[in-house]
Assembly symmetry: C2
Homo-oligomer: 332 residues x 2
């Protein structure tokens, strides 16, 4: 690999001049610029980022840390991040933590050792205090999923309100016994449970402990299990709100196995508007989040932290949308 020195020698100029040409410094005559560029071309020189980064103390690179790769919703978010990053000439890298704390900490160390300029965190296994400390020290924002009360910029939707809307749609369709499949370990899911409860309360529907099922994972298998449990109740629900589409798909699957048609005897509502919610039969009513916009905003917030480390933290809530499909009665 040729270095800047080799180029300088071959072009019969100093390394300083080569560097100037490469960094579009205007203090260089057209002839020498020409000459240098020729040599660069000829020897196939590419700047060594290791040297450049060391000198500049940055990498022009950001990391997106997500719990899992197999998440349709997140892939949309990341497209948004990538799109906004392109504008700022930042490179985007992604890593999955699989909710493993050690792994997450390993990646977060990249902030300490300057391997990346900033991190977008989608959920975290860390405590509020640690997040706050990191966000105070480095460019770090949270996206879509965040920690209650942490001092950090974040972007997402109003989860409580979205769930409220979903459950209201079910109630408006005439359903009386609405159940929820949620996850008390995840903040966004807790908020969704709260929205569910508020909708019931507002409609004057009595609260039933047995209609709230916890699952701990967002898989269709968990959805099937939860659904069987609910339908085995003495008085089974006539509508089920699941906090993810994959859960909802599992719910539908379990219902069908029992000879029940989702959207007829029992309504089903999902969350995220992923491909799966469209492709299964019947198609699943769900909440659509502005994924791309969420990702874009996350990067904007990160950029804000990079430019103004002392600025205030911001929480950005983006609007969601109800998507009514065949798994729930239409409201007439």
């Amino acid at each position: 690999m040729p270095t800047i020195k080799d180029v300088a020698k071959a072009a019969q100029v100093s390394v300083a001049t080569v560097s100037r040409v490469l960094n579009q410094d205007k203090n260089v005559s057209p002839q020498t610029r020409q000459k240098v560029l020729e040599v660069v071309q000829k020897v196939g020189y590419t700047p060594n980022m290791l040297g450049r980064n060391l000198r500049r103390k940055n990498t022009e690179r950001v990391l997106v840390l997500i719990p899992s790769l197999s998440n349709q919703f997140l892939s949309g978010v990341i497209r948004g991040v990538e799109s906004a990053a392109k504008e700022k000439d930042l490179q985007v890298m992604i890593s999955a933590t699989h909710n493993d704390r050690a792994a997450e900490e390993g990646y977060l160390e990249m902030l300490d050792n300057r391997s990346v300029d900033g991190i977008i965190l989608v959920g975290s296994t860390l405590e509020r205090e640690e997040i706050s400390r990191l966000a105070n020290q480095y460019p770090l924002v949270m996206c879509s999923e965040w920690i209650e009360g942490a001092a950090v910029s974040a972007v997402g939707i109003d989860n409580e309100r979205a769930a409220f809307d979903a459950v209201n749609a079910l109630l408006s369709g005439g359903r009386k016994r609405v159940a929820v499949i949620s996850n008390e370990e995840v903040y966004s899911a807790r908020l969704r449970t709260q929205g569910y409860r508020r909708a019931l309360a507002q409609a004057g529907v009595p609260y039933r402990q047995e209609y709230e099922v916890d699952h701990y994972e967002y898989t269709y298998r968990a959805g099937m299990r939860a659904c069987r449990k609910l339908m085995a109740l003495p008085e089974p629900p006539d509508a089920i709100f699941a906090v993810s589409d994959e859960l909802a798909a599992g719910v539908c699957k379990a219902l069908i196995e029992q000879g029940i048609t989702p959207g007829r005897e029992v309504d089903v509502f999902g969350f995220d508007n992923t491909t799966m919610s469209k492709v299964v039969t019947p198609s699943i009513s769900t909440i659509s989040q502005p994924r791309k916009k969420i990702g874009e905003t996350a990067l904007e917030l990160l950029w804000e932290r990079m430019e103004h480390p002392e600025g205030n933290y911001r929480l950005v809530l983006l609007p969601h949308e109800l998507v009514l499909r065949d798994s729930s009665r239409k409201i007439n």
Copy 2:
């Protein structure tokens, strides 16, 4: 941020000694080691990777370049990569190209400028010659999806054989008019088409041009479109083999819309054994690839290139499995 110098000063030793402690050099007395570690702890020192990398000329980091993040199958492959990388103390980063050539080239430049030690390429928009040149110059392997005839190590399954097996399963079930939905732009899909043809030929079923549909994208919408086209033929097929589960799910969806039950009037076969193939009703017969093993092998191959740059290229084909579900008749 404290540097190695600060630590040295505070510990009253030279930077060399600190460096030795940090790199487990045995030539250092227990007392000084102790002392240094204490100071490191106290000032919260973490080595600056920018400096270290520049000096060592490597990053202990590998990149996995994939076309899209929203690919259930790939997420399994990457888990395999991560698992094997852990053994070698390598960090894994992922980036998506979205089949954009400029983006891909941008990431591949990370090899030139030493931002990563090696790259695992899952598919590529580049030509055979470019891939060969890169693989010759840097640690670079292909995974799951590769370029015909390129001089590069690669791992995946025998796509031709897998398709052959799938179509044979359909024929064994008594189907006579088997169609395929493939993608002539993708090498693995071309191989699957070949396997499809061989199975037909071996069974003495005449070749029909109109039963081969090209789609250009792996979405369920494309599957629906292709299915409608096929079922509109004067003599529609009685079995459809799609080269991805999402396509197959679209096919099922379109069939159901026409009042046709997949697995009864028309068989459907997918590829990859993703969640979607299990969750839709009816569940979809498919080919299961050893995703994790594929990922692990990819990293092993990459490691091989990193350790022995002059070694021979290897092509590793892993065994696949047929997964028969409700969308195709069981073979009795």
